[in-house]
Amino acid sequence: MSDAAPLLELRDVHAWYGESHALHGVTLEVHAGETVTLLGRNGVGKTTTLRAIMGLIRKRTGRIAFEGKDLMRLPLHRTAHAGIGFVPEERGIFASLTVDENLALPPVVASGGMSVEEIFGLFPNLKERRKSPGGKLSGGEQQMLAIARMLRTGARTLLLDEPTEGLAPVIVQRIGELLGTLKSRGMTILLVEQNFRFASRIADRFYLMEHGRVIADFPVGELESRMAQLHDVLGV
């Protein structure tokens, strides 16, 4: 880990769904160019952490900063413009919009995003389905599209929520390669994942979450020596 200021920083973040207290003081940081994975069982607050960063959960306290800028003050539609791309759980493809429309939907938030042609170079199968409604795509195609549409926006930081969930092993493999490519291009990635074997191929560091808190923080090199703890906490 470098000594430079983190790109994304969370300090003692609490969040609530109505009366339900979901995050109990999450502290973590992600540095530019890093790939960081949040591990944990269902319901420990991984998705909630991403939603709190994006501002989709409004009832939150603590500090959330991106490039030193306080994200807590921004209205929901300004967060993305800080330069963050969001790939939500269950992909969030708009069923009534075509592939082209889904791709074009998220506003450009920074210069240097990929052109549609570059994106189709990376995702040739999407190009064949440009005119299909998003609802008619397979799960794998939807996941590719969910990632692809963020590459157009110029965001250099991606938040991905379980991009491999429910997908066939061959598709998981392709998503792994794709994330590897994005990482090698210098993108910063915060990944929520249950599948730590998948995550271990691309992640630099891990945060392990339980009961709305981060309980461990370790680099990928320590993964093997932490197996006992991981099996215990993740129940795998």
């Binding site: 994006m54 501002g55 989709l56 209205p75 929901l76 539609h77 300004r78 967060t79 993305a80 413009h81 969001f86 939500p88 969030g92 708009f94 069923a95 009534s96 919009l97 429309e101 074009a104 939907l105 998220p106 506003p107 938030v109 926006t153």
Partner: protein, 295 residues
């Protein structure tokens, strides 16, 4: 004399035309309701009052300022649309986070207040609005006599409905609207200014109602109650078409207008209830409406 099922063809076509005219207004009004409901999740009970407002704006422009039909056709929807934007910003926008019932109650109350104000100043008897000279008179089609203005209403409403549909289906703004109808918060998280989109959508829906109102002014009398007479049927149209379905609202509007007109020919006693009978049957067979998606 040519007859269809024992009915003189003139009577048949005459009622078909009346049905198409009514259907034109049903289509334009239910289209606005469907757009508003789809995105804002607000059942806009003020829609009939906004239609009435459009007719009155046209009427007042004429009698107070001497502004004629054609400028009014542009001004009335703009004025009603702006009033809609003000209403959304001041009131509706504060109700999105509470039970949808509040939005319904608010718009219902707004409709009553608007109607009350116009009743106070203009009474309940209608005020005539002249047909613009360009469209005065009629055309003999050989088999029937078509008043020019009524032909214009059918064509104009088709153009406006089709235009609105194209904007929603084919433009970038329309894709924002459709996406936000599916998942509002995600569209906003992607960086789209959804609160602004909601305001503009309510303005657009109101403007469509105002446009229908000024189109209707020369056909019906301009009266404070003209909206509440129509809006109940329009709600039935939206339900039959499928809540929130744009195309469903348009097609169902014309279909039910024609069904109503033809019922007047074959069984006049039933013409006032036929729309509701159709609604009941559709709800039994397809609860989501003809064009709605099953939830």
């Amino acid at each position: 004399m040519i007859t269809i099922l024992g009915i003189p063809i003139q009577a048949f076509l005459g009622q078909l035309l009346v049905g198409l005219i009514n259907g034109s207004f049903y289509a334009m009004l239910s289209l606005g309701l469907a757009v508003i409901f789809g995105l804002l999740r607000v059942i806009n009970f003020a829609h009939g009052a906004q239609y009435m407002l459009g007719a009155f704006v046209g009427y007042l422009l004429l009698v107070q300022l001497g502004v004629g039909y054609w400028p009014a056709l542009l001004l009335a929807p703009i004025i009603v649309g702006i009033s809609g934007i003000v209403v959304e910003r001041l009131a509706l926008a504060r109700l999105y986070d509470v039970d949808p019932l509040y939005g319904l109650l608010f718009t219902f109350g707004l409709a009553l207040v608007l109607e009350g104000i116009f009743r106070y100043y203009f009474g309940v008897s209608g005020n005539p609005y002249p047909v613009p000279p360009l469209l005065a008179g009629g055309t003999n089609l050989g088999f029937m006599f078509l008043p020019n203005y009524r032909g214009w209403v059918v064509i104009a409403s088709l153009i406006f409905c089709l235009g609105t549909w194209l904007v929603i289906e084919k433009t970038k703004l329309g894709s924002y609207l459709r996406a936000a109808t599916e998942n509002r918060s995600l569209v906003q998280a992607f960086g789209v200014n959804v609160p602004l989109l909601l305001t503009l959508t309510y303005g657009l829906g109101s403007a469509l109602a105002g446009l229908a109102g000024i189109l209707a002014a020369p056909v019906y009398q301009v009266s404070p109650l003209m909206g509440s007479n129509l809006i109940i049927v329009v709600f039935a149209v939206v339900v039959v078409g499928g809540m929130g379905s744009i195309l469903g609202a348009i097609v169902t509007g014309y279909l039910l207008g024609v069904a109503e007109g033809l019922t007047k020919v074959f069984y006049p006693e039933a013409s006032n209830i036929v729309v509701f009978v159709i609604m009941a049957i559709v709800l039994l067979i397809r609860p989501a409406g003809l064009f709605g998606k099953e939830a």
